[in-house]
């Protein structure tokens, strides 16, 4: 039988606030245990939660970015369960009325574009951490993370493959960083996905029984865990078994999912409105202010790059993978005065360099673009010199490497290095003619071939001339001189 995979994702994004969602403790990562657990986070008797405006504002930003509905009135509820990293014995979350309902996210896979619908996004507090190193057979509890604001973003079960799920997760990851509500640090757990996975016979309209897979803290694990789980479920059903709805943990070391210890009361959280927190009300003025301050979103940028800058959809998509890359690119074309001159070739040149040389170097060195050693001002200077013929593309790449290594920075970096390394292209006709004469004299067979109409021979001759000029010759000018001399044309 042919099977269809159905996937929905629940993503916990840690919001990038300074302080916790209900206390004034710092959210800074990696501090010594319990040093950032305030009275509220430790749940001392008598303490009370006070909600953080910054967390609410970030939720609104997400809601607007995905085109969801910002509920003017949402309710904080208590989700009751006992766990040592949950100090109050309940998690403050949003249950019946979340702050954001609906919305969509565009994803791109090898199969093309797709729209994934979002169910909701709700605010809640993170739990602490249980450390399982051996403390005489006991576990240690660190509550530093307890109370860190989370926005749980829930998708509809719209994805049909692990590839789509990963594309969704990546698109969401890019978006939350783009709108600056989450640092996106997967290692530190700032962006955590749970996947609801089920399978059904192809063509079936009803959903199969789903399993929720937890602990997917990288895109690779997300993909592997789903692939494993789909295989497991299909094998189970084909063997005459039945999928049991349960929570499963992905074990990266074994590359498998396994059932978490069964909790017979796991599904009786006894939600009720938190009596300590009146309804969260958001007015139009606030929403409008957040909308006004919202950066241009990736979709809009892509359309603009393709439209007014004439970039390919591939380039536009690459440049809008992260906001920092887009901002770098825009700073670059601003310096190149692309916007003013609508110089499409310049935009293409800039795009090529950013997605090519720069992205390659960043990737190789594992450096974020905002920390690029070659700033957009330096790169602009370099591109100007390519454009006006001062240097060859080959020389430009050498220059770029020099800039990357910190030999020069700033808008004049290219010019400084051109002088220092004497990379200025030789375009002077007299000097080039002497070189060409020498090349023709020592490569008579190739000159004859070219004369007989073999274009390849010209390339060889130009290459020889470039070599003789130590790379500084202007290849276009050399080709002109060669043609003239071989074909016996008169100088212009």
């Amino acid at each position: 039988m042919e099977w269809e995979t159905v996937i929905g994702l629940e993503t916990h994004t840690q919001l990038s606030t300074q302080s916790k969602i209900f206390s004034g403790a710092s959210t800074h990562f990696g501090q010594p245990p319990n040093t950032q657990a305030s009275a509220v986070d430790v749940a001392l008797p008598g303490v009370l939660p006070v909600a953080n405006r910054g967390a609410v504002e970030r939720a609104i930003r997400l809601g607007l970015a995905v085109g969801g509905t910002i509920n003017r009135r949402s309710i904080f509820a208590r989700k009751n369960y006992f766990y040592p990293d949950l100090p109050k014995g309940y998690q403050i979350s949003q249950h019946e009325i979340p702050i954001v309902s609906g919305g969509t996210l565009h994803i791109t896979t090898t199969a093309g574009e797709k729209i994934v619908r979002l169910t909701r996004a709700h605010l809640e507090e993170d739990a602490g951490k249980s450390l399982h190193e051996d403390f005489h057979g006991m576990s240690g509890i660190d509550l530093n993370r307890a109370g860190t604001p989370l926005l749980e973003i829930v998708s509809e079960p719209d994805m049909r493959s692990a590839e789509e799920a990963v594309a969704y997760a990546k698109a969401l990851h890019a978006l939350v960083r783009w709108i600056d509500i989450c640092d996106g640090n997967l290692q530190e757990g700032s962006f955590r996905c749970d996947a609801n996975v089920s399978v059904r016979p192809m063509g079936s309209a009803t959903l199969g029984t789903r399993c929720e897979i937890k602990n997917l803290n990288s895109f690779r694990f997300l993909e592997r865990a789903i692939d494993y789980e789909v295989r497991r479920q299909i094998a189970l059903i084909e063997d005459g078994g039945r999928v049991v709805q349960e929570t499963r943990l992905y074990d990266a070391d074994r590359d498998e999912t396994r059932s978490m210890r069964s909790k017979e009361d796991a599904h009786d959280y006894r939600y009720f409105p938190d009596p300590d927190l009146p309804p969260l009300c958001v007015d139009d003025a606030w929403i409008n202010a957040v909308q006004t301050a919202m950066p241009e979103l990736p979709e809009a940028k892509r359309a603009r790059y393709e439209g007014s800058l004439g970039l390919s959809s591939y380039d536009a998509a690459t440049l809008t993978q992260s906001r920092d890359m887009a901002l770098y690119f825009e700073a670059l074309i601003e310096r190149l005065a692309v916007a003013r001159t609508a110089h499409l070739a310049r935009a293409k040149l800039a795009a090529n360099w950013v997605t090519g040389e720069l992205a390659g170097a960043l990737n190789k060195a594992d450096v974020d673009i905002q920390h690029s050693p070659v700033g957009s001002d330096a790169l602009a200077g370099l591109l100007e010199r390519i454009e006006d013929g001062t240097i060859s593309t080959k020389a430009a790449k050498d220059l770029f490497d020099a800039m990357w290594n910190g030999e020069a920075t700033g808008p004049d970096a290219a010019d400084q290095l051109i002088e220092k390394k004497s990379l200025r292209q030789i375009s002077d006709a007299g000097a080039l003619e002497a070189i060409v004469d020498h090349v023709l004299a020592s490569n008579a067979p190739q000159a004859a071939e070219f004369k007989a109409g073999k274009e390849k021979a010209l390339n060889y001759l130009v290459g020889q001339a470039m070599k003789a000029s130590k790379g500084k010759g202007n290849p276009a000018a050399i080709a002109e001189i060669l043609k003239r001399k071989v074909m016996g044309q008169a100088p212009p």
Partner: protein, 96 residues
């Protein structure tokens, strides 16, 4: 509503993490049924279309500016903890 049976009493005692002996379960069942019976009269009231009242005052949530206002007090807080080591609260092994 059906009166509570022992199974339900044990289930809610487990949900509430309160150990309950068999003898206690029986006494608890009877007491809870007495209370639920008293509560039952309320359920006859017609509340069609009535907005539930979760708070004593009709107010909206006040929001705090996002600023760190707390300092490290773990030594004070942990001085009253049952078991601590290396600034961690210790509990019987947590099994996932």
């Amino acid at each position: 509503m059906m009166p509570l049976d022992l199974e339900v009493v044990r289930r809610i005692a487990m949900l509430a993490r309160i150990e309950i002996s068999d003898a206690e379960a029986i006494a608890t069942r009877d007491q809870l049924n007495g209370i639920l019976n008293m509560i039952e009269s309320m359920r006859a009231l017609n509340t069609e279309g009535i907005e539930p009242m979760a708070h004593a005052q009709d107010v909206v949530l006040r929001l705090r500016d996002d600023r760190v206002s707390e300092t490290d007090q773990h030594e004070v807080f942990q001085s009253i903890a049952p078991q601590v080591e290396g600034s961690l609260y210790l509990v019987p092994k947590v099994i996932e």
